[in-house]
Symmetry: C2
Subunit: 163 residues, 2 copies
């Protein structure tokens, strides 16, 4: 599933909408994968940290209506902020979030992400579906999907170490 | 544009994703249409009130990061809640919101809506694009689009009276 539409008018910046879905299997049960999303330290490790990334701020309230905020940059790059809100939580089964991102203070996108955890043998199939709107960059949806796949690999490393 | 995918697994409720877009022309300039979204009293009139609807609560903070909350029912029906957050605002041009809805306390959906105001002659073309995830009801996306078109007509009446 990959759908993208671009709209542009002379009077306002282009806005594009895109949806993508990423599926990834992990060799640990749903409870363990869910924990990596709900636990602050674990989430910070695989989601915010990583070689070359400087985490300036990371706070999270994992509850419906709760906010998660991260502020970071890559190397000497511009500051990036992520304002997330938890919208729906079904323990060990589903998390729905919305988030907006800005680079150097300029809004670049708003997204709605559905994360589903399904048992598969002794492991888990995670399905990540993101519906988003992007400002001023019609190719941003495709780039976001690449970034998302990288995060799913970072999560695999977190689960391998801490399992 | 109308895309819908349904996923269902034995271990968790069905989740469906849908996107729809509604376009509506109004005979007043973008500033006037934008005002009907940004002004609390005007928004409440066309968005929350209406024949048969009982508005139990309506509060709004029209600013990025600000929340809007409404609690209402239709006749003697169950209580419905709408938790909205303003995600992006470009005065007279664009509003992006996310919102979750619940009926009798049970979550039914989370949505990301992009509202664009484009000048057209002396009037405005409003484009409303909603990307959503629905819980336990695969036909909910189609119903939401019907409800949205009704709201665009209620907005037309508000603009006709107050213009």
């Amino acid at each position: 599933m990959n759908e993208q539409s671009t709209k542009s008018a002379a009077t306002q910046p282009a806005v594009s909408h895109a949806t993508f879905a990423v599926e990834r299997a992990y060799p640990v049960p749903p409870e363990r994968v869910f924990f990596a999303f709900s636990n602050l330290d674990s989430k910070r490790r695989w989601f915010a940290e990583g070689e070359g990334w400087v985490v300036l701020e990371f706070t999270s309230d994992f509850s419906v209506g709760g906010s998660e905020f991260s502020r970071f940059r890559f190397g000497d790059g511009p500051e990036i902020t992520n304002d997330t809100q938890y919208q729906n939580i079904v323990t060990n089964e589903r998390i729905v979030i919305t988030y907006r991102m800005a680079v150097a203070g300029a809004p670049i996108s708003v997204s709605l992400a559905t994360i589903e955890f399904s048992p598969s043998g002794k492991g888990t199939v995670l399905t990540y579906t993101e519906q988003g709107v992007y400002f001023d960059d019609a190719s941003a949806g495709a780039n976001r999907e690449i970034g998302c796949r990288e995060l799913m690999e970072a999560l695999a490393r977190e689960l391998a170490v801490a399992a």
